[in-house]
C-alpha cells in the first residue's frame, strides 16, 4: 500500500506510452492469455521483488562457464541472447534484428541493433558478438552447454560494424535455436577481458537488471538498468523495467521456501514441490506458473557402456520392472504427466511409444532369465557367474526434487521384486559429477535443457561420450550406435522441415526401442508467486522467468 517515490512516477508515464505502443505492435502475433485482468490496471514502477530459488547456487554468474539451469535462471535477468522464440516456437528478434542462412548452409549472417550499450558503456556491435563466440569456444572458459551448441561454428567474419558472419563446418539446422538460449547470451567484451574469477562475480550484459552484489550462500542483489532499450520482440513494454531491484535469495529447503512465500517474505519461488502446488491451489493469494522446460524429458539413463546394462535384455527388463505410474499419481498430485518420449512435451518433434514402457514384472523376470541372470542369492537378488545384479544409482539432490527421490525409492522397491538391486546414493552436485566422471553409475537422472530436438544429438550421439572442456559429458547412457549417429548428424544438417522431422522420429525410435532410457515426465518447472506480482511470464526459450515486465500491485 506504499506510494511509489516521485521519480518512479515520472518514469511511469513514459512506460504507459510504451505499453500502448507495444500493444499495438503486438496485436495479431500474440495470443494474449491471462492479460485480460491486467488491462484494467496500469503498471506501477518501483519496489523490490524478492525471489527465492531452490536451485543450487551457481559457482559462477557467467552462464558461458559450464552452463546449467541455475545460471540460466538468474542470468536471464541481466544478460540477453541474440534471438528469442515466440509462443509458437518461431525465432524472433532480440539483440539481433536480422539473420540469414547462406544458400549452401555453411554460414549465417547476423545483424545486431545499432543503438544498444552494455551496462559498462561498451557498445553492442559485431566485434562484441565475435568476442562472445570466441569466449564460448575458448577451452579456458570451460563452457559445456554453449560450447556444445557452437560445435559446428568454425570461425567468424566481421561484415560491417553491426553485421557478423558465422562460418560452419556443416549446415546446422539448430543454430538459431541454440543462439536463443541464455547460455549463449552476449556479454560486454570489455568485461570478458577481466579475469575469469572477476567475470564470474559480476558479468556485464545488456539486460534490464545489473548484478550489484553477491553475498555467497545468501543472495544476489540486482538493480534496474536505467538505460535499458533492448527488450525481446514479444515483451510487454519498452524502456527500463518496472521493478527497482530484485533480491535473489537462495533457500534450498522447499518447505521453508513455501513458508516464506506464504508469509509474504518472498514474492516468487521456483522449484515448487508437488504437495505445495496442490496446497497453493486452495490459497487465493498465491498463483501458479507451470512452465515445462524444453529439450529432454526427465528420464533415467541406463549406462550401456558396461555390464550389466551392455546387455539390451537387462535394460528392457529394468524398464518393465519399474512401476513409474503409481508413483507419479501419488507423489506428484497430478502436477506431472507421464512421458514416453526422450523429448519434452513442449518439443513439437517429440515422438512417444507408451507400449514399450509398461510395468510388467513377469516380462521382466522372463527377460532376466533369458539373459542368464537365472540364479537367486539368499536375499532374493539375481546372480550370474557369482555376481549379483546390482545397479549403482547416484542421485543429485540438487537436481532431483524430493518427490523424484521418492519415486526412485519406489522404483528401487519394484525392481527388487524381480531380483534387481539398486543402490541409491544421495549426493551433492560435485560428488555426483565425480561419480559420473569415474563411470561409477548404472542408472542416472540428469536434466538437460535445450531449445529444439537437436538436444538428441548432444545426449545420444557417440561424440557426447567425450567430455566437454568443463569435464561433463552429456551422453550419460553412453549410447554408441553408428546408425543413430548417422540419423542425428543428418537431422542436424537437414533444413527441410518435413525431412528433419522424419529423421528425428527415426532417431527417437532407436533410442526408445534400444531401452537406453526410461522416460518419466517433463522437466518440472513450477513457480509459485504472490498474486500482487503482475506480468510474470517464462521465456518461451528455456522457460526461465523474466522480471522485465513485472510490477508489484500492492
Amino acid at each position: 500500500m506504499s506510494t511509489p517515490p516521485r521519480p518512479a512516477r515520472a518514469r511511469f508515464s513514459t512506460a504507459v506510452g510504451a505499453v500502448s505502443v507495444a500493444a499495438l505492435l503486438l496485436t495479431g502475433c500474440s495470443t494474449a492469455e491471462p492479460e485480460s485482468n491486467q488491462t484494467s490496471q496500469t503498471p506501477v514502477s518501483g519496489g523490490n521483488l524478492v525471489y527465492a530459488t531452490g536451485d543450487a547456487e551457481p559457482t559462477c554468474l557467467d552462464p558461458h562457464v559450464g552452463g546449467n539451469y541455475p545460471q540460466a535462471l538468474v542470468s536471464t535477468q541481466y544478460l540477453e541472447p541474440l534471438v528469442s522464440l515466440n509462443d509458437d516456437g518461431k525465432i524472433i528478434p532480440w539483440l539481433a534484428t536480422d539473420w540469414e542462412e547462406a544458400d549452401d548452409g555453411l554460414s549465417w549472417t547476423i545483424t545486431v541493433h545499432d543503438d544498444v550499450q552494455f551496462t559498462d558503456g561498451t557498445p553492442l556491435n559485431a566485434e562484441a558478438v565475435r568476442a562472445n563466440i570466441e569466449h564460448l569456444k575458448d577451452p579456458e572458459t570451460a563452457s559445456s552447454t554453449g560450447f556444445l551448441a557452437l560445435e559446428k561454428v568454425t570461425g567468424t567474419e566481421i561484415v560491417d560494424e553491426y553485421t557478423i558472419r558465422l562460418n560452419l563446418r556443416e549446415p546446422d539446422s539448430a543454430l538459431m535455436e541454440s543462439l536463443s538460449q541464455p547460455w549463449l547470451a552476449i556479454q560486454s567484451p570489455t568485461a570478458l577481458e577481466r579475469s575469469k574469477a572477476e567475470n564470474c562475480e559480476s558479468p556485464v550484459g545488456t539486460g534490464p537488471f545489473i548484478v550489484d552484489e553477491w553475498v555467497k550462500q545468501n543472495s544476489i542483489t540486482l538493480v534496474r538498468n536505467e538505460d535499458y532499450n533492448s527488450p525481446p520482440a514479444d515483451a510487454g513494454h519498452k524502456g527500463p523495467a518496472y521493478l527497482e531491484s530484485i533480491t535473489w535469495r537462495f533457500i534450498p529447503e522447499s518447505a521453508s521456501r513455501y513458508a516464506a512465500l506464504q508469509a509474504g517474505e518472498v514474492d516468487v519461488i521456483d522449484n515448487a514441490q508437488p504437495d505445495t502446488i496442490a496446497a497453493a491451489g486452495k490459497n487465493d493469494s498465491i498463483e501458479h506458473l507451470n512452465a515445462p522446460r524444453p529439450g529432454a524429458s526427465n528420464r533415467i539413463e541406463l549406462n550401456s557402456s558396461k555390464p550389466p546394462f551392455n546387455d539390451p535384455l537387462v535394460r528392457e527388463a529394468f524398464a518393465h520392472s519399474a512401476n513409474v505410474d503409481a508413483g507419479i499419481s501419488s507423489l506428484f498430485f497430478d502436477t506431472a504427466e507421464r512421458s514416453y518420449s526422450p523429448l519434452s512435451s513442449v518439443e513439437e518433434l517429440g515422438y512417444e511409444d507408451p507400449k514399450l514402457f509398461t510395468y510388467d514384472p513377469e516380462e521382466a523376470n522372463r527377460l532376466l532369465d533369458k539373459a542368464g541372470w537365472d540364479q537367486r542369492d539368499a536375499q532374493g537378488y539375481r546372480v550370474k557367474d557369482g555376481k549379483r545384479l546390482s545397479l549403482e544409482f547416484p542421485v543429485s539432490t540438487n537436481q532431483s526434487i524430493p518427490a523424484e527421490v521418492s519415486l526412485f525409492e519406489q522404483i528401487q522397491a519394484t525392481a527388487k521384486e524381480v531380483g534387481i538391486e539398486i543402490n541409491l546414493n544421495l549426493l551433492d552436485l560435485s560428488s555426483w559429477y565425480g561419480a559420473l566422471a569415474q563411470n561409477n553409475y548404472d542408472l542416472v537422472s540428469a536434466p538437460y535443457t535445450k531449445v529444439g530436438p537437436d538436444v538428441l544429438r548432444i545426449l545420444y550421439h557417440s561424440d557426447g561420450i567425450v567430455p566437454a572442456p568443463s569435464g561433463y559429458f552429456a551422453n550419460l547412457a553412453q549410447v554408441d550406435n553408428p546408425e543413430l549417429d548417422k540419423l542425428l548428424t543428418q537431422a542436424s544438417r537437414e533444413t527441410d522441415p518435413e525431412r528433419r522431422a522424419a529423421l528425428y522420429e527415426e532417431a527417437q525410435k532407436l533410442i526408445l526401442e534400444g531401452y537406453y532410457i526410461l522416460p518419466l515426465y517433463d522437466q518440472q518447472n513450477h513457480f509459485l508467486y504472490r498474486s500482487s506480482v503482475e506480468g510474470l511470464r517464462a521465456l518461451p526459450t528455456v522457460s526461465t522467468p523474466t522480471f522485465y515486465d513485472v510490477w508489484l500491485n500492492r
Binding site: 518447505a255 508413483g327 499419481s329 524430493p402 525409492e409 519406489q410 528401487q412 546414493n425 544421495l426
Partner: protein, 284 residues
C-alpha cells in the same frame, strides 16, 4: 528394573535409602529403554507391516487404526518403520559411544600413566580437539572418509572421545595419588597389578555413568548426520533419514516427521534420566 535392584544390593551406605529410591521418571525411562531394546531385538514381533513395502495408493495417510502413525510418501507404514528404525538408530549410537570410550581409554591411560611428556602431548592434542565443536569434527571426518553408516558411526565416536579421555585422565591421576595405590606399592605389588586391580576399576566407574548420559547424545548426533544424508542410504528406515524425508511434507503430512522425532526425543530423554540416576547413586 533388575538393573536397579542389583544396584540397590551392591552399594550399601547409611544415606542409601533416599539416594537409591527409584523415582517415577526413572521408572518411566526404564520402561522406554526396555521397549526400545525389545524393538531392537524383535522388530518383526512389534511391527504389523514390512517397513520397506511400498503401496503408492496409500500414500500420505494420517494416523488411523490401520496405520497408527500414518503412512509416508510411498504408502509405507510409519509405525513399522519407526520400530524397525530402532535397530540402526540405536546401534549407531551405541557403537559410536563404544568407539568414543575405547579411544578415550587409550588416550586417557596414556596421559595418566605414561609420564610427564606423554601427558603433556596428549593434553595439548585434546585441547586442540576441544577447540572444534563435536559435530563439526564429525563432519570433517565424513568429508575426508566419505559418507556411509560406518564412517558416520566412527565420526560420532571420534568426536565424543576427547571429552571422555579428559575425564579418564583426571580419574587415573586422582586414583594414582590415593592411599590404596600407595599402600599397594608399599606392599610391593607389581606395576601391572596395581593398574589392573586398583587404577582401572576405580577410574572407570564414573566413565560408565557418563557414557550412559552420552549415549542419548550419540543417538541424536547419528540421527543428525543421517538427516543430512550422511548415514544409511534409502530406503533404510532410520530415524534421522525419516525426519529428512518428512520435512518436505511438514506442512501437509506432519506425522511423517513427528513420530520419528518423538522416538529420538524419548531415547535421548530416557538415557539422560537413567544416566543421572546412576550418577546420583555412585557419587560419594
Amino acid at each position: 528394573m533388575t538393573i536397579m535392584a542389583n544396584f540397590r544390593r551392591r552399594v550399601p551406605g547409611p544415606s542409601a535409602h533416599t539416594r537409591l529410591k527409584v523415582t517415577v521418571p526413572e521408572m518411566l525411562a526404564g520402561v522406554v529403554v526396555l521397549s526400545l531394546l525389545a524393538a531392537v531385538a524383535f522388530p518383526a514381533l512389534l511391527a504389523p507391516y514390512n517397513p520397506l513395502a511400498i503401496n503408492p495408493p496409500d500414500a500420505f495417510q494420517g494416523p488411523s487404526l490401520e496405520h497408527w502413525f500414518g503412512t509416508d510418501e510411498s504408502g509405507r507404514d510409519i509405525y513399522s518403520r519407526v520400530i524397525f528404525g530402532a535397530r540402526p538408530s540405536l546401534l549407531i549410537g551405541a557403537a559410536a559411544t563404544a568407539i568414543g570410550v575405547g579411544l578415550a581409554l587409550a588416550l586417557g591411560s596414556l596421559a595418566g600413566l605414561g609420564g610427564r611428556v606423554l601427558d603433556f602431548g596428549v593434553g595439548r592434542l585434546l585441547e586442540v580437539l576441544f577447540a572444534l565443536p563435536g559435530l563439526l569434527l564429525a563432519l570433517v571426518f565424513i568429508a575426508i572418509a566419505g559418507p556411509g553408516v560406518v564412517t558416520s558411526t566412527v565420526a560420532v565416536g571420534l568426536s565424543t572421545a576427547p571429552g571422555y579421555a579428559r575425564i579418564i585422565r583426571g580419574q587415573i591421576i586422582q586414583v594414582r595419588g590415593s592411599g590404596m595405590v600407595e599402600a599397594a606399592v608399599v606392599l610391593g605389588r607389581g606395576r601391572a597389578q596395581v593398574v589392573r586391580r586398583h587404577l582401572l576399576p576405580n577410574a572407570l566407574s564414573p566413565v560408565f555413568v557418563i557414557a550412559t548420559l552420552g549415549l542419548g547424545q550419540a543417538v541424536v548426533w547419528a540421527a543428525s548426520l543421517s538427516f543430512l544424508g550422511l548415514g544409511e542410504p534409502p530406503p533404510a528406515a532410520e530415524w534421522g533419514a525419516m525426519l529428512a524425508a518428512g520435512r518436505t511434507y511438514l506442512t501437509t503430512a506432519w506425522w511423517m516427521t513427528f513420530f520419528p522425532g518423538l522416538f529420538i526425543v524419548f531415547t535421548a530423554a530416557a538415557s539422560t534420566v537413567l544416566g543421572r540416576g546412576l550418577q546420583r547413586r555412585t557419587v560419594r
